[in-house]
């Protein structure tokens, strides 16, 4: 599969602060790719470099097989800080952004109307943007990002600040884009969201790459956890060989296992020592993987 985006040893610093430190990644075309990391990890800086808003200090970036800046019209970008021109009407604003991406006026207007229709906002077309509800405003922003039918869509924290209904809308949009063969990159600090929707991820912390790959690969290579439910007093779970961390909730517990742990032996020890009512062995969540790599929670 052709790569939509290739990052090679990309570095960027602001004064003494290193924002992005030798990041490399390959994002295959037609995939949904997550940039994960806590706030301030360097996600937005990386995205800005891909969008040619910032220049990398060193390293190479290739977007859709071209240097960034050459393919601006084929990219759609929704920044984390989202705004609208308050005095413009919704349809006008969307068409304006279409024209800025090189669409001609008539085409931009028809397409704006179609998309508003598709998002159930046909009644808002002639409303001024400052009169739109928050959810409607967010939809208008997303439509503005997609009006020119971009091949690569980059969404910076698209879920932040959305209510559950709008989270669903955005999720549906992302999946729809993938169905149409587009590549979607989005950044988030909420690992659960990424886990549910991404094909592959890049995990960044303090400007450095922690790991990248498909969700499947990452989980297979990661350490497993045992979730168990129990009655009565548990044995000292921390003492069991191969268990590196315990999250005991009183009636249930989660044990993180070392990579070389003997899962069978651990299960036997548990069953022998306490009243286990249920247990599952599973690959860790992305959240768990992040915590293990970084030693702190991403939020």
């Amino acid at each position: 599969m052709r790569d939509s985006l290739v990052l090679q040893n990309v570095c960027k610093s602001f004064g003494d602060k290193i924002a992005v430190n030798h990041i490399s990644a390959q994002i295959p075309a037609g995939s949904i790719y997550g940039f994960l990391g806590p706030n301030g990890a360097g996600k937005t800086t990386t995205i800005r470099m891909i969008m040619n808003i910032l220049m990398p200090d060193s390293g190479g970036i290739s977007v859709l097989g071209q240097p960034p800046g050459r393919v601006r019209d084929q990219l759609g970008y929704l920044p984390e800080e989202k705004g609208l021109y308050k005095k413009m009407k919704a349809a006008e604003l969307i068409a304006y952004f279409g024209q800025l991406k090189g669409m001609d006026r008539t085409r931009a207007r028809t397409r704006a109307a179609e998309l508003l229709d598709q998002f159930g906002l046909e009644h808002a077309a002639d409303q001024r943007c400052d009169l739109l509800s928050k959810g409607m405003g967010q939809k208008v922003q997303i439509i503005s990002t997609l009006i020119h039918d971009p091949d690569l869509v980059i969404l910076d924290e698209p879920f932040s600040g959305l209510d559950p209904i709008n989270v669903e809308t955005v999720r549906a949009v992302i999946l729809d884009l993938k169905r149409n063969g587009k590549t979607v990159i989005f950044s988030t600090h909420v690992m659960e969201q990424a886990e549910q929707i991404c094909d592959a991820i890049l995990l960044i912390h303090r400007g450095e790459k922690i790991l990248d790959g498909t969700i499947g690969e990452i989980k297979r290579s990661a350490h497993h956890t045992i979730s168990l439910e129990y009655d009565g007093t548990p044995i000292d779970l921390r003492r069991i060989p191969g268990v590196i961390r315990v999250n005991d909730m009183g009636k249930a517990a989660e044990l993180s296992l070392a990579g070389d742990a003997d899962r069978q032996a651990i299960i036997k020890t548990l069953v022998a020592g306490m009243t286990v009512t249920a247990f599952t062995v599973k690959a860790p969540s992305l959240h768990e993987i992040f915590v293990r790599h970084v030693g702190e929670s991403p939020e």
């Binding site: 929704l78 920044p79 989202k82 005095k87």
Partner: protein, 422 residues
């Protein structure tokens, strides 16, 4: 370029289609008209000033009143007889506000000046004493002339001052008389400097506000993902320039209507033909050229400045030096207008931030072609430099948040990145 124009047309349309914008434009001409009309209205509705006279001579008051009646009395002043009241009673009347003032005429005006007094609580407004005094003097003068056996004609002839006739030399060496038209023409550039100054100030201020707003409405990143910072900056500068031209055209149209259309319609003959002066190519041409150049220069400064500020307050602090420079043309407007080709005018013309205003001010001179060529070349070079700086600052500043950077930091953006040696 196409996308810069797209940005420009959006700016323009957004500005022009609000009602507030047109109200704002109308404010200036309406204010100017009010300043001209209100004093006339106030004057016409004012109560007449009441005065009386204590006449010691016995004849001067009657003679003066007769003269006033002959020469057309004034509505502004109303005479009431003193009715034998003494000064004390009249003073009280002044304190009570019944009287504005009273005059005392001396016992023997033909032979001495003693005993003439003007009593009022308002000595700053001397209209009344000047007007009544003129008539009293005329009567006294007549009698003094008669005593010396002189007629009024002889006296007038003896005392008539010599008047110099104003003549200027036209370019082909002919002498021509100075008419009111010429005087107005000489001072018209000053009006144009005012207009130029206000137009540039308003427009660049608009650009500054607009840039800061753009930063705060969080659309910058989306815009920069579609167009380059230079395109965005150019679009903004162009859009606001178009808005400015709309404002000026509206004013020009209103001025033409007021000074040319109205007199024509009511068939009033003005002593000078303002329409002719206002539409003189050297004025209109200078104005348009210097508006565009002056605007571009200050636009470059302010768009750069606006891009590093997060709100108007921050911008205002940084604006101060620019505003001080912008004040200079107003301070030197009169001296430059009086001597359009003097040393001061010439020196100031070569300072690019002042060139548009000072050269406009000198348009009645007019300056030599060489001066036009050199100052304009200097100005255009400065504009290019300012725009280049602005683009560099805009590119970085527009994405910044937090405290505005120090001057040293900004200067560092202007020089190419240095290799760190460590």
């Amino acid at each position: 370029m196409k996308r810069a124009l797209l940005v420009a047309s959006r700016e323009f349309i957004e500005n022009v289609r609000t009602k507030g914008f047109w109200l704002g434009i109308m404010m200036l001409p309406i204010m100017l008209i009010m300043i001209a009309v209100i004093p006339i209205i106030v004057e016409s509705t004012r109560e007449p000033k009441t005065f009386t006279v204590i006449d010691e001579s016995g004849w001067l008051l009657d003679a003066s009143l007769e003269r006033i009646a002959l020469n057309g009395p004034q509505d502004r002043f109303s005479y009431v007889p003193a009715d034998g009241r003494d000064p004390e009673a009249l003073n009280e009347a002044i304190i009570r506000g019944e009287l504005f003032a009273y005059f005392m005429l001396g016992r023997d005006p033909v032979n001495d000046d003693e005993g003439f007094r003007y009593i009022s609580n308002n000595l700053t407004n001397r209209e009344l004493s000047a007007w009544f005094g003129r008539h009293v003097s005329a009567e006294v003068r007549l009698r003094r002339l008669a005593r010396e056996n002189l007629t009024e004609e002889v006296a007038n002839w003896v005392t008539r001052p010599i008047e110099f006739e104003g003549v200027q030399i036209s370019t082909d060496g002919d002498e021509e008389e100075v008419s009111a038209q010429d005087v107005v023409r000489q001072w018209t550039p000053v009006a144009f400097v005012y207009l130029l100054w206000i137009s540039i100030l308003i427009n660049t201020q608009m650009l500054l506000t607009n840039t800061i707003e753009e930063k705060s409405n969080k659309l910058i990143e989306v815009l920069l993902s579609s167009i380059s910072p230079v395109q965005l900056m150019a679009g903004k500068i162009l859009g606001i320039a178009a808005t400015g031209l709309a404002i000026i055209s509206t004013w020009a149209l209103m001025a033409l209507l007021f000074f040319v259309g109205l007199p024509e319609f009511f068939n009033i003959d003005l002593p000078v033909n303002l329409g002719d002066i206002l539409t003189e190519p050297v004025y209109i041409g200078s104005f348009l050229v210097y508006f565009v150049l002056g605007y571009l220069f200050y636009a470059a400064l302010l768009v750069g400045l606006g891009s590093i500020c997060n709100n108007l307050k921050e911008a205002q602090n940084l604006m101060l030096p620019v505003q001080l420079v912008q004040m200079i043309p107003i301070f030197v407007m009169v001296p430059v207008g009086q001597d359009p080709n003097g040393v001061l005018a010439k020196i100031l013309s070569f300072i690019p931030p002042l060139t548009p205003f000072v050269m406009m001010n000198r348009a009645a001179g007019p300056p030599s072609f060489t001066e036009y060529a050199i100052t304009t070349a200097l100005l255009i070079a400065s504009i290019a430099l300012a725009l280049w700086f602005a683009a560099k600052i805009f590119r970085i500043g527009i994405l910044m948040s937090g405290k505005p950077p120090k001057l040293r930091e900004v200067l560092r953006w202007l020089v190419p990145a240095r290799v760190k040696l460590s």
